[in-house]
Structure formats: structure tokens, C-alpha cells
Symmetry: C2
Subunit: 308 residues, 2 copies
């Protein structure tokens, strides 16, 4: 049973897709990461901030999954971070309609004492200085520090981002962001440049086109499971990261071979997350469903070839 | 040693990429298919048409690869099909600058007697009526008929296309074309609709994002090998089809398991084709290089996962 420390947003999301729209529902990177990671045998903890408008039911959902919430600050009279977005017909692109930082604007993460020796730290997409602050509070160097980021921080906090990624092991980033970060179109070249910036493992997320794991001269690819319907992609990347981090926290093995498995587990869980709005699908996901789909992943990608 | 009948263009290509440009060089679907298929133990034959401006060297290259050219009509005083295109910076899209059909405009395919009992027929991208004419000349139903097509025929010869695909086993088509053909964005749904149109196997090519093989409820995915540089994508799809068809003609086994291997062989050969202009890379490709990269494909995609 490994310890996994998760830093990221707890949020309200309002989502429009070609299939329908929601009012404010449970969202946020830490939520999706936590729900995915809770599929594994881990002692999880979330460091985050919400207002007192954040429903207790949402907190109870997370704590019922063996996720410690003592690191979640509840700001009296404050409002919880709110994001609203509308997906285009292809579901691959979206417009942000509203971003209200609210209590997130002054977020000062405090790592609970019990998790300052966490095995794995998953730094969800946040200001690089917040991510760095968490790393600096650890009393023992975690076995693995994973960082997710996005183009917004490249545009606005480049130096701080370059600083924090010196201190991490794995960066997860999407393909367009990897290109922006390195000015390289080829993802092979982009990954090589990102290696030089610090992280020894580079995970490039390609959405419906799968994910690549780079480590030195090695590369591994996991496809996204071909689905009849993608209903709501919100949180897919965080679910992927949560499955990745959760599996590694449980197995406490950070070899390339084991990171490959983690990529498959992350891809597998993300394939469920997109099937319904928000966290709906992840909330009632069973071990049997997870295993059945892992078998589908094997069938999708495994082959025997005879060299001649 | 299986017999493989290839129908497709022999052509001059003039190509512009961000890396440089060529004068008229050897191109055409049948050329790329033939060179790829010749990596396998097959008796190949090409049915095509050229003008007498088509260099003997080009024909000799193909016949030196055990490809019978008795079905290639050489039109006296005629000019060979010419295509010219310019790739955009991302190498994923291109503009056609020139298309001169020339002798291709009146192409009437004649299948050589020796190949009317071919094991595998690979119908390169051509007018559906030409593809159907070849099928009708076969004296024995081939073990496998593979057809490649494109959006141009969907726009201009829909009924003829719907007719010919009643008679084939495998269709290869790219993702955008599969969507156009079925009005379905989901490739899973698109493949299901294409199944209903005739072919029991549907191969959807996604370029740098790999290829999917659908058969009834089964699906298999082969990634494209992540490359440092894509130098010239011309012929990648045909090289893929040639590797696919060549492997199946050699093995004479049309089970789903064997088609999976064929997809990997096709993807493997296509990864070489794009490394240099036109046919340059394929011309000097060795068995050792092919095997080495097959090993890379294995490493790229194979994993062990323990279900719990």
C-alpha cells in the first residue's frame, strides 16, 4: 500500500457537448486523479482548496475512496474554482466559456505531515510555483514525482515552469504543448528536448490517438481504446494521470517496464471517464469492468511476429 | 510462394516538402505496393499503363524484384501519369499542384493469364470500374481481395464504388475518408457501417497516428513508429498496403490473427518509406533493417499486465 500525494484543483465544471449540457457538477484535476488512483491499493491524499460552497457530498465521495482530505483548505465565505467549457462537434477541441479562479487565486498548498514521505507525488496542472512549493515540503525525496502542465504556464510562467521541472521525474503533456515547449514538430525530437530540460520520463498525451512514453532511447506507445462514442472528454487527461500515478504508488516500482504498465492502466481508466459527463462513469466503475477492458487493450495491441 | 496481383498506377511524381523538392521521380501506387510486397516471398505482377516516356530503369527496378510486368501496357507516343504535390510544414496535409492523367485516362487493365489465379489481389487507388474489371477477369476467386480508394471516388463515382466493394474482402481507407463515406465521426461506428457495405475487414489508416483493423467485433491497432523526421510521406499508404498484401500472399493465411501481423508488417515498411524522397529508401532496404525495426515495433507496443 503506497502513499500517493495529489495536488490539484477541486472544482465546479459546467460542460456543453454535442450530446447535452450540465449545470455545475463535480470537476477538477485532483478529483479525476483521485478517483482514478483509488482503483489501486493506495493511501491517497489531496492537497487543494475550495470555498464553503463545495458540497460535503463531493468531499465524502473522495474520502470514501480512502483519500485523505486533511490537506484540503475550506475557505470560509470563499467560492470554489469554476470552469465552464463547450466542446466542438469533433470532441477534440473546446472553447473555455468561464474561468473563475475564486479561492484558487490565493492557494497556498500545505502538505499534511503524514504525506510528507509519500512514495509518489502527482502534481496536477497548477501554477509551477505551487507545484514547487509542494515538492519543497516533502521531508523525503519521493520515489517518483509526476507533473502535469499546460500551455498557459508556458505562455505566462516559463521561467517558473523550467525551474520546477528540474525537480521532477515524469512530465505529462499533450502533443501540441510538447511542440510549443520545444519548437519541434516531431514528438521524438520534442521528447528529447524535454528530457534535457529535466524529466527523465516524458509522457506525451495525444487524446484519441493514445499516449507515448519516452525514456532515454526507449519509447512505448499506448493507444486510446477505439470507442463508439466519446461523450465528455473533460478529465480524461487527469484520469489518465491518476491511473498512471495510482498504479505506480501501489507497485512502488519505477522501472521503464512498470511505467509501461502504468501507461496502459491510465489509458484504460481514461477510456471509461469519457463515456459520461464529469465523474459519473468513474464513480460507479467496478474492478470487473476495469479488468475486462484491460483484456480489450491487450487484444487491441498484442501480436506475435516471426522474424526471418 | 504465393501469387500477388497488383493493380495501380506507375507514375512520375514531383514532390515539394519543407526539406526540399524533386524533379520528376519514380512514383505511383503500384510502384510503392510492389516494392513493399517484394520484401516477402511472392510472385508479384503489376497491371498498369505507362507512356513510352517511362524509363526502362524504372521497369527494370520492379522486374528485378520478381515482379512480372507483362500486364503493364506501354502506350507508344503516350505520356505517363504525372502527379505533383507540395506538403505543408506539418507533413500531414498537402496541395496537389498538377495531375496529368495522360495514358491513365484510357487505362483498360488486362490481367496476364498466369495471374488470373492469384492468391491475393491488391487493387490500388483507381476508378472503381477499373478495379471491378480486374476482379471480373479472375478465373478463380482469390483468397483475398484488398481495395484501396480515396475521397475523389466517393465524390465522383459513388455508385461504382459501392458496387466494387461488394466483391472485396479488405478495404483500406484513411480516417477522414471513412468518416466521409459513412457520415460517422467515430471510427468504430464508421467501420461498422463500412462492414455493412461489403468488406469483412476494414483497415483505417491514420497516418502518423497508426492504423486500425476491424473485423466483426474485433479490433486491432498498430501505431506508426515515432520518427525523428518524416521526410516525404508520398507512397506511405501504398507501402503500407504493399507490405500488408505481400505478407498475406506469402503466408496464404487470412485469419484475423494473421491479418494483425500483416498490419504490423505494413506499418513497419511504411516507416521506412517516409524517410527519403519517393522510392529511395525502399530501393535499398535490407532484410536486416526490416527485422530490426520489427523488433522496435514489438518494444513499442508489447506489455505484460496482471489482472487482479
Amino acid at each position: 500500500m503506497g502513499k500517493l500525494l495529489i495536488v490539484g484543483t477541486l472544482a465546479f465544471d459546467a460542460i456543453e457537448t454535442p450530446f447535452g449540457k450540465t449545470d455545475k457538477i463535480l470537476g477538477g484535476a485532483a478529483t479525476f486523479i483521485g478517483l482514478a488512483a483509488s482503483q489501486f491499493k493506495v493511501d491517497g491524499a489531496i492537497v487543494s482548496v475550495v470555498g464553503d460552497d463545495f458540497p460535503e457530498d463531493y468531499l465524502n465521495l473522495l474520502s470514501s475512496r480512502n483519500i485523505d482530505l486533511s490537506g484540503v483548505e475550506i475557505v470560509k465565505g470563499g467560492k470554489t474554482f469554476f470552469w465552464s467549457g463547450r466542446y466542438h462537434n469533433d470532441m477534440n477541441s473546446r472553447d473555455t466559456l468561464v474561468t473563475e479562479l475564486n479561492t484558487l487565486a490565493d492557494f497556498d498548498p500545505i502538505v499534511p505531515e503524514d504525506y510528507k514521505d509519500a512514495d509518489v507525488v502527482m502534481l496536477g496542472n497548477l501554477h509551477p510555483n505551487i507545484q514547487l512549493s509542494v515538492i519543497n515540503q516533502m521531508t523525503e525525496r519521493p520515489k517518483l514525482i509526476i507533473l502535469d502542465t499546460m500551455n498557459f504556464w508556458m505562455d505566462n510562467s516559463w521561467d517558473e515552469l523550467m525551474d520546477v521541472i528540474q525537480h521532477i521525474d515524469v512530465i505529462t503533456i499533450n502533443d501540441e504543448e510538447a511542440r510549443q515547449m520545444t519548437s519541434e514538430y516531431s514528438l521524438v525530437k520534442a521528447a528529447a528536448k524535454i528530457h534535457e530540460m529535466g524529466p527523465q520520463y516524458v509522457v506525451i498525451k495525444k487524446g484519441e490517438h493514445g499516449a507515448l512514453l519516452f525514456h532515454k532511447d526507449q519509447v512505448f506507445f499506448a493507444p486510446a481504446l477505439p470507442l463508439e462514442e466519446v461523450f465528455d472528454p473533460t478529465g480524461a487527461g487527469d484520469t489518465f494521470a491518476g491511473g498512471f500515478a495510482g498504479f505506480l504508488a501501489e507497485s512502488k516500482n519505477i522501472s521503464f517496464e512498470n511505467l509501461k504498465k502504468a501507461i496502459i492502466h491510465g489509458s484504460n481508466l481514461a477510456s471509461f471517464s469519457v463515456e459520461e459527463f464529469g465523474t459519473e462513469r468513474m464513480k460507479r466503475l467496478t474492478k470487473e469492468e476495469v479488468n475486462m477492458r484491460l483484456t480489450q487493450f491487450q487484444k487491441l495491441t498484442q501480436f506475435d511476429i516471426d522474424l526471418k
